[in-house]
């Protein structure tokens, strides 16, 4: 094999699938073979079966819906505030100087550590879960968006000036469209992190959601349910990410995003 030499699309698929096959074979071997006792690790078959039961008999679909709703809700609130603020910070260095030091400190504060406080402040209802997502994504968003906007190619801005743009036009017709694809990419990335936070929020004080199902299953040592839950989250994350990527590519055909 030569470094960087591409492999044929066919063997790409074969190799990729073979890892999954291998993974399941090993999993099945250790579980069915009895090397690992049932309560430590459910076998793949039981996992799938329990997952099905969860969906059909225990209303797991509703849990999934709740979790998705929380992520999307908290994230949207964060985005609605973060995008304008980030754009302002990127465009006006004075605004940036005012907010930046605080925001870049705040983004290191782990959202999960806020949960105890948030329960106090917002209760255990949806407000609390949304707040966790908000804290987890807001500061990152603001900072990354401000950087994107601030990195707008100076020559484009200067070109706009020589074409007669005023300051307002520079912000609305140059800075904003020029950084839009990067802002969309930032939103996609940060949404990916938000999934982690929602699970934490649901592990602690929730009556529905995927995280809650996992806590419930813990008592029963139902590793099948836990693993199913984890896989469901993974799949949702994967699907949203791909959808978001495709959407961005569609929305910004002029940008050379990830090839």
């Amino acid at each position: 094999m030569k470094p960087l030499a591409p492999v044929s699309p066919r063997s790409r698929v074969v190799l990729g699938v073979s890892f999954f096959v291998l993974f399941f074979v090993v999993w099945a071997a250790v579980t069915f073979g009895g090397v690992v006792p049932k309560q430590f690790l459910a076998d793949p078959l039981t996992m799938v079966k329990s997952g099905w039961t969860l969906l059909t008999d225990f209303g797991f679909a509703r849990d999934i819906g709740m979790t998705v709703w929380r992520v999307v809700g908290g994230f949207l609130i964060a985005a609605v505030i973060a995008v304008p603020l980030g754009v302002l910070m990127g465009a006006y260095k004075g605004v940036e100087a005012f907010f930046e030091p605080f925001v870049s400190f705040a983004r290191y504060l782990p959202a999960s550590a806020f949960i105890p406080l948030l329960i106090l402040w917002a209760g255990i209802g949806e407000a609390q879960k949304l707040s966790v997502i908000f804290i987890g994504s807001f500061f990152q968003l603001v900072l990354m968006i401000a950087v994107s906007v601030g990195n707008t190619r100076r020559d484009l801005v200067e070109a706009a000036y020589t074409l007669g743009s005023q300051d307002r036009g520079i912000v609305l017709r140059v800075l904003l469209p020029s950084s839009a694809p990067e802002i969309a990419e930032t939103l996609r990335m940060v949404l990916g992190w938000a999934w982690t936070y929602v699970i934490v929020a649901e592990l602690i004080g929730a009556s529905s959601g995927i995280g809650h199902m996992i806590t419930d299953s813990q008592a029963l040592l139902a590793t099948d349910n836990i693993i199913f839950g984890i896989i469901v989250i993974g799949l949702i994350g994967l699907v949203t990410d791909f959808a978001f990527k495709a959407f961005n590519r569609k929305l910004y055909p002029w940008a050379q995003l990830s090839r």
Partner: protein, 272 residues
């Protein structure tokens, strides 16, 4: 185009007719770099002035100050007698780097300045389309910049600047990033447009052939700190044909400029 009288006559017109006048303009950057020493330059109506000079001698700095993108440390720049205070649509600029807005199509790019002026859409289109045709991009109106070659992008940038109908066109090595052949085609295209419209142009280049072929006057700048070293009229008749580049008068002028510029380049490189 018909017979065009040698431009040199116009260039020597009375200073009263100057479109642009640069008087004692100097620029020192924050770090202490003197980019430009006190410089004087008068640009008359319909002049095509090419500026030659070694790298770092302040050519871009000068052009940017005329455009209003930078401010002189001292001296005055006046356009039609009014001092330049900031950038504006009356001084169109074409940059060496590709500065089309990547999120706009060719047509939208050309309309950009018109839209900023607040013209209604139909009027924008009426102005833009002829310019797009003029630079040979008919059929490419709805292409995005990334779908165009470098030469096509610079042609669009030219159309965009011209569509705004500026008093003066500032061009900072507009063909510098193109390959040699594309560059020659672009020179002919720009020259053709100039011969038809007689737009006043300030054109920076490194290429002596280009400077002579395009210009009605060639201004040579000295190595940093920059200053105008000589200002040589180009007595070649218009319309000019590319074959002119291998004629003896051209070669003669080139030999002169080559000597002038060579000393400066060596000085800039610290070899003298």
């Amino acid at each position: 185009m018909g017979a065009v009288e040698p431009l040199i006559a116009r260039a020597q017109a009375a200073p009263a007719g100057d479109v642009l006048s640069i008087r004692g303009v100097a620029r020192t950057f924050a770090g202490g770099t003197v980019a430009l020493q006190a410089t004087d330059l008068a640009v008359a109506e319909n002049d095509f002035i090419t500026i030659l000079g070694p790298s770092g001698c302040g050519k871009s700095t000068l052009l940017r100050m005329v455009a209003g993108l930078d401010t002189p440390t001292s001296g005055a720049i006046e356009l039609d007698g009014r001092p330049v205070a900031g950038p504006g649509a009356d001084r169109g600029m074409v940059f060496q780097s590709y500065t089309l807005f990547p999120w706009l199509t060719v047509l939208q790019n050309v309309c950009f300045g018109l839209r900023e002026k607040g013209l209604p859409l139909q009027q924008q289109l009426d102005i833009a389309h002829p310019f797009i045709a003029r630079v040979g991009l008919k059929g490419f109106e709805h292409h995005y910049p990334k779908q165009l070659s470098g030469g096509m992008q610079q042609r669009t940038a030219l159309a965009r600047a011209l569509a705004n109908d500026p008093r003066i066109l500032l061009m900072d090595e507009p063909f510098g990033a193109l390959d040699h052949q594309t560059r020659e085609l672009m020179q002919e295209l720009l020259l053709g447009i100039w011969e038809a419209e007689r737009k006043t142009v300030l054109f920076v280049t490194h290429d002596i052939d280009e400077a002579i072929f395009m210009g009605s006057r060639v201004v040579v700048m000295s190595a940093r700190p920059g200053r105008i070293k000589c200002d040589i009229p180009v007595p070649l008749p218009h319309p000019r044909h590319y074959a002119m580049k291998t004629t003896p008068p051209f070669a003669e002028l080139k030999a002169t400029l080559m000597e002038e510029i060579r000393v400066e380049v060596q000085r800039a490189a610290g070899l003298v």
